[in-house]
Each structure stands twice: as structure tokens, then as C-alpha cells.
Symmetry: C2
Subunit: 179 residues, 2 copies
């Protein structure tokens, strides 16, 4: 990391897949500003200095009225020359969240629809995006076999230089079975 | 993603853990510009428009002389007010790579040491960073039980708006076992 100059090249967007484990449903929206009516997870751009999980929780609340808490990171998309990023690159991260409330009061400026949808239905429908589809299938596997199979958990660690903390996301594996 | 303005807030750094599966060794370096002599994976900042995997392969070659190819994404660190990023945020990603060549010709401007080190030793030593340690333990599990347990694989998908492609990193699970 020695050959500077360093500069920011990416904007970061985060979406939250809020999964209700008791019903197998997930919170999805349809954006107002898109031509095709595709179900997707609520989300938006990170504010400067905002943690990934905090963006997911905030955007879900703003768009849907549902309060939630961060569980894990599920997928990352990197896209260059993103149309909304003025030629810069875009990192788009999907997190798994757990609901704290269930009543929907969605933002009519941003969304035309908002529902708790069966994960199995979301995994199969064509009215969604390729990424949402893949993450829905991941989440379905999580519901069936445990989210430990799909989660990148978060660990907060001290940053030596700045005296602050950083967040590390990785698969926290169970101890291996020894005969 | 409707409430703009959008702007770049993050620099992206990528390190490559080159694992030689036939020997259980991994390629590590010690940076010239750090006070503590800690083993870490070679890496550096992404160039504008450069894919995560391409950065890892390029930085490994520049620092160590070893050619490699991208396999998977393993972990992500988010850090705000990174000391080398002028108050911006830093996303630091570690990838798994496979070696194509094995001879080391390391860059003496950037590194003081460069070795193929036993993964088991790297997972236990105190002469390393907290992140390297955790990723070494993940890789050790991968060696023992298959990298399918730890990998976020990459899938390239078409971007509808721009006509380009994007890269999606997520756990590509095997089909579930049905009785």
C-alpha cells in the first residue's frame, strides 16, 4: 500500500434483505424510477463515513418504514462507469437484516409497491433482477439449512494507526469436526 | 438509488492470498514502510476501472514476481478516515489466487522479505496482522475441507443500462442434498 497517491474511486450502495424467519418472507420494493416493475431489496448510497450495515438499516427504514438490525453481508457487485456515478465505479453490497417491526409504511416518492414476499416466490419469479434472484436463492438455503452456510459475519477490530475501529466481514466457520 | 447526488467516497485496495494447494503454502511479504515486521498478503490500490481480481493479480506480480489467477473473494474490511486516504473511506478486499509460477523475485522498494510460508504457521504466528491471521485460518479450512466452504465465487453478468458487464461475488452453493 506504499505507492500513493490514493483517491476515492468508488461509491458504495447497500441494500438490505430483511428476512422474517418465522414466515419465510422477505421485504421487497418496486422502484418508482425504473421502467420494468422488478422486485428488489430496498437500499441506497452510503453517506460519507457510514458503515455498510448502518446504510442498509437506514435505507430500509426510509423506504419501507420497517425497523431492522444487521446480521451479515451476502454479496458484492462491482460495476465500472456506473450510469449514476459520473464515470466512477460502484460497489453494491447486499446485507441480511432481521426485522424489529413488521408494519409497512413505504415511501411513495421512491417506491410504487412494497411487500413481504415469500422467499421461494422471489427465488423463482421473473419480475426481479438477476442479483435479487441469486440472493433470494441464497437466503432460501439459509432458511432451510442455517444462515451459517451463507453469511459473512462482521467482526469489529481496533485500527492500530488511527485509534478507531474497522469492520471485517468474512465467513466465521464453526470449529471443524474431529473424529 | 434515486436520491442523488452520487460521488465517490471509497478507495479500494485488494490483496491476493496465493495458495499453493500441493504444498499448503501461501505467498506472504513484509512491507518496507511499516515499523512492525508483520507477514501479510501482497496487495495495493485498484486503478480506476480495474476489477478486484485484476488488482490482486497485478499487485502480486509487481511485489513478488509470481504470476497467478483469480479464484474467489474471501473477506472485506471497511475503514473510515483511513490515514492514507485523505479522510475518505477505504474498502480492503482479500482474494484467493492460484499460482501459475513459483519463483520469487520481490520488489525491494516495497518489501523487505517475501516467502512461501506454511498456512498452518501463518495461522498461528504473532508476526502478522489480525486480518491476515483470520484469512489464514479460513484458507487452512479450505485446504482441509474444500475451498467451497470459504469462497465467494465470481459471476459476470450483463449490465442492462450501459451494455457493459459487472462482477457479482457471492457464495455459489452446491445443490442441496434431498433424501
Amino acid at each position: 500500500r506504499s505507492r500513493l497517491p490514493a483517491f476515492a474511486t468508488h461509491q458504495v450502495g447497500v441494500a438490505g434483505a430483511v428476512v422474517d424467519e418465522s414466515t419465510g418472507k422477505v421485504l421487497v420494493v418496486q422502484d418508482r424510477n425504473k421502467t420494468k416493475n422488478a422486485w428488489k431489496f430496498p437500499g441506497g448510497l452510503s453517506d460519507p463515513g457510514e458503515n455498510i450495515g448502518a446504510t442498509a438499516v437506514r435505507e430500509v427504514l426510509e423506504e419501507t418504514g420497517v425497523r431492522s438490525e444487521f446480521r451479515s453481508l451476502l454479496s458484492i457487485r462491482q460495476q465500472h462507469q456506473h450510469p449514476n456515478a459520473f464515470g466512477m465505479s460502484d460497489m453494491y453490497i447486499i446485507c441480511r437484516l432481521s426485522p424489529l417491526t413488521y408494519d409497512i409504511h413505504f415511501c411513495t416518492q421512491e417506491c410504487v409497491r412494497c411487500e413481504w414476499l415469500d422467499l421461494a416466490e422471489l427465488a423463482q419469479t421473473h419480475s426481479t433482477t438477476p442479483i435479487t434472484s441469486r440472493v433470494a436463492r441464497l437466503l432460501l438455503r439459509g432458511l432451510e439449512s442455517g444462515f451459517g452456510h451463507i453469511d459473512l459475519g462482521m467482526e469489529e477490530l481496533p485500527a492500530v494507526y488511527s485509534g478507531t475501529v474497522y469492520q471485517l466481514y468474512y465467513r466465521q466457520l464453526p470449529p471443524p469436526l474431529r473424529p
